[in-house]
């Protein structure tokens, strides 16, 4: 399989006074298209910095980052925004949905900045919400949805513009174990549909659902292993459960 992500000797140095902090210290790796990867590490290991660079939210101090066939480590802020808009979908620990805004409109958000027409936005957002099993809750506000449902709205938002890469930062950190399974099942499903999924987590339980685990420590990759993923079993495909 062709590599979607290839990084070479990535470093990220933060200067604090006269001290240098190497958040990334020569990271090289490849992630193939459609792979489901978990990046693990303790807090301060550099996994968040790696995720920010992979997500085009941050630029490395040195090294190269190829996303698809494009070298993007030196792109401008606006060019990075374009890449985030068209290639990457984000899922956050605390959902980051817009308050008092319907599921439909939350899911539409990336399309607004991608310049899609209103009609196009509505249709795509509806399809994405149906895909995460919330087709009947388009008009619900985040406050009317359970945590798991809110995270599914966020996943719908991440996939609405057909990204090639989903980056999930502790996506189950705010969820209970039952909804964790639901959300991870959804992630696996997306992986099987050909989207590359990268989950950043410090929980081995969550990493168990991935086909590959990369462990980061002190800004370096210390372990990179493939595994048979645990199948996330849920009673039903995540059709909308009642809000808790």
């Amino acid at each position: 399989m062709a590599a979607l992500i290839r990084v070479e000797e990535l470093t990220k140095v933060y200067r604090m006074g006269d001290q240098e902090l190497h958040a990334l210290d020569g990271v090289s790796m490849e992630i193939a298209s459609g792979e489901f990867v978990a990046i693990m590490g303790t807090s301060g290991s550099g996994k968040s910095t790696l995720m920010n660079v992979l997500g085009c939210l941050d630029r490395p101090t040195s090294g190269k980052y190829f996303l698809g066939d494009k070298e993007i480590s030196r792109l401008s802020v606006n060019e990075l925004a374009d890449i985030r808009s068209h290639t990457i979908g984000f899922v956050f620990q605390n959902f980051n949905l817009l308050a008092r805004t319907s599921a439909q409109e939350n899911a539409e958000l990336p399309l607004v900045y991608a310049g899609a027409s209103s009609k196009d936005r509505k249709a795509k957002a509806k399809r994405a919400l149906e895909r995460v099993g919330l087709g009947k809750r388009l008009d619900h506000m985040p406050s009317q949805l359970s945590g798991g449902q809110q995270q599914r709205v966020a996943i719908a938002r991440a996939i609405v513009n057909d990204p090639r890469l989903i980056l999930a930062d502790e996506p189950t950190g705010a969820l209970d174990s039952r909804t964790t399974v639901e959300v991870m099942a959804l992630m696996q499903e997306l992986g099987k549909s050909g989207i590359t999924v990268v989950v950043v987590t410090h929980e081995p339980d969550v990493a168990a659902y991935a086909e590959r685990v990369i462990v980061v420590k002190d800004g370096k990759i210390v372990e990179d292993r493939r595994q048979t993923p645990e199948e996330a079993v849920h009673s039903q495909p995540p059709t909308s459960g009642a809000p808790t």
């Binding site: 925004a81 985030r84 956050f92 980051n96 817009l98 308050a99 805004t101 958000l109 607004v112 900045y113």
Partner: protein
């Protein structure tokens, strides 16, 4: 991203906090409303002054006889007759800037109709007087040169006198009234002129030919003209020149040496009107400035709320950036929010200001004067205030680091 989409996002954000948006707008509403109402008040006062001076007559000079002084006490202008009938003729004939000059001799007398009587000022004058004072007839005809030459016993009445003798809408033409027991035929009713700048009723008058006045009211022709001379200049631009000409002529005729005080007074109404107008203009400017300050304060209110909003919505900004919003799109969103607050507030302020102006105008009996230019300036100014004070918070929002913003608690 289309401007329409940006506007929609901004409107959504504002509607999410309706009370806050309204209170922020209130600053602009009051500011713009105050500017419009204050300027309307100033303009109304100005129009009032202008109207009362216009009623005096246009291009008008009034020549008053000089002051008497006896035993060190000065009697004031008009107390001593120093103007002569020859002075009048000389002004008429020898001053190129003077179009027409007319005497006005005045005394109080009782006018008696068949049923009523009324005491008013009887003015003896010439036909030119009505021309100098731009005073048309409402009914009937004016005094003619023939009336004057023949000493005709005819009278032109003011509207107030007609009202007192016969009732407000009566037609007294052809009626006979008695003044000092002499019968006069009413030949005309002068159009209503309203009030003088000092509140005197212009319409409480009766005019008779000056020769009739001299023969019947004052008694006999005298050398001195015991009244005032109304002088009409050729044009508005000639008023100043006419004033100097009349002054020089009278000084020469009265044999005044250089250094002597004038024994007469020439009043230039345009000058007095100008001074009055400058006064009301100052008032308008002052009122508008105070109102503009309140508009500025409204703008600061917008900045304050936008700053709070940016801080409060840091996570939202981070999320928008993460899903692909560019800094300038974030900038546009917050700028448009500020702009919507200020422009909408401005428009509501215009409506409120107009309402207030109308109420105030009705209260003071002024014409309602909403100046369109001021209205447009107020709205444009409020938009500028919105952009000006919205720019800093919007820039702050657009420069947020998405990573920091997403982590913001």
């Amino acid at each position: 991203m289309s401007p329409f989409a940006t506007l929609r996002i901004a409107l959504r954000a504002l509607l999410r906090n309706k009370m806050r948006s309204f209170l922020t707008m209130l600053g602009i509403i009051i500011g713009v409303g105050a500017v419009i109402a204050m300027v309307a008040i100033g303009e109304g006062a100005k129009a009032q002054v202008e109207a009362s001076f216009a009623a005096m007559g246009t291009n008008l000079l009034i020549v008053l006889p000089g002051a008497s002084s006896g035993g060190g006490a000065s009697g004031g202008f008009g107390s001593q007759p120093t103007l002569t009938w020859d002075d009048l003729k000389a002004i008429q004939n020898e001053c190129p800037a003077v179009r027409v000059a007319s005497p006005a001799l005045r005394s109080n007398a009782q006018i008696v109709s068949e049923e009523q009587n009324w005491s008013t000022g009887i003015t003896g004058t010439t036909p030119e007087y009505f021309d100098v004072r731009s005073w048309p007839m409402a009914k009937g005809v004016s005094i003619t040169a023939a009336d004057n030459d023949g000493g005709a016993k005819v009278v032109v009445l003011g509207q107030t006198v007609v009202g007192k003798l016969w009732g407000p809408n009566a037609d007294p033409i052809g009626q006979t009234v008695r003044i000092k027991n002499i019968p006069f035929e009413v030949i005309g009713v002068a159009a209503s002129k309203g009030q003088s700048p000092t509140g005197q009723d212009y319409d409480d008058v009766a005019f008779i030919p000056v020769n009739t006045y001299l023969a019947k009211i004052q008694g006999g022709l005298k050398k001195y003209l015991s009244g005032t001379i109304f002088v009409g200049a050729n044009s508005a631009g000639d008023v100043g020149r006419a004033e100097l000409e009349v002054q020089a002529l009278l000084r020469e005729r009265h044999h005044l040496q250089p250094g002597d005080d004038d024994d007469f007074s020439v009043r230039n109404l345009a000058e007095i009107a100008g001074a009055q107008q400058a006064g009301t203009q100052t008032l308008t400017t002052l009122l508008a400035s105070v109102a503009a300050v309140s508009l500025l304060v409204g703008g600061i209110g917008i900045m304050n709320i936008m700053l709070v909003s940016v801080t409060e919505r840091t996570r939202e900004i981070g999320t928008r950036m993460a899903v692909g919003a560019k800094p300038r799109q974030i900038l546009a969103q917050f700028l448009v929010e500020a702009l919507v607050l200020s422009v909408f507030g401005g428009l509501v302020g215009v409506a409120l200001g107009m309402l207030a102006s109308q109420r105030l105008a009705a209260q003071f009996g002024w014409p309602t004067l909403i100046r369109p230019d001021v209205t447009i300036i107020a709205v444009v100014f409020s938009a500028i205030v919105g952009v000006g004070f919205g720019l800093y918070p919007a820039r702050k929002a657009s420069r947020l680091d998405p990573i920091q913003a997403l982590r913001f608690e």
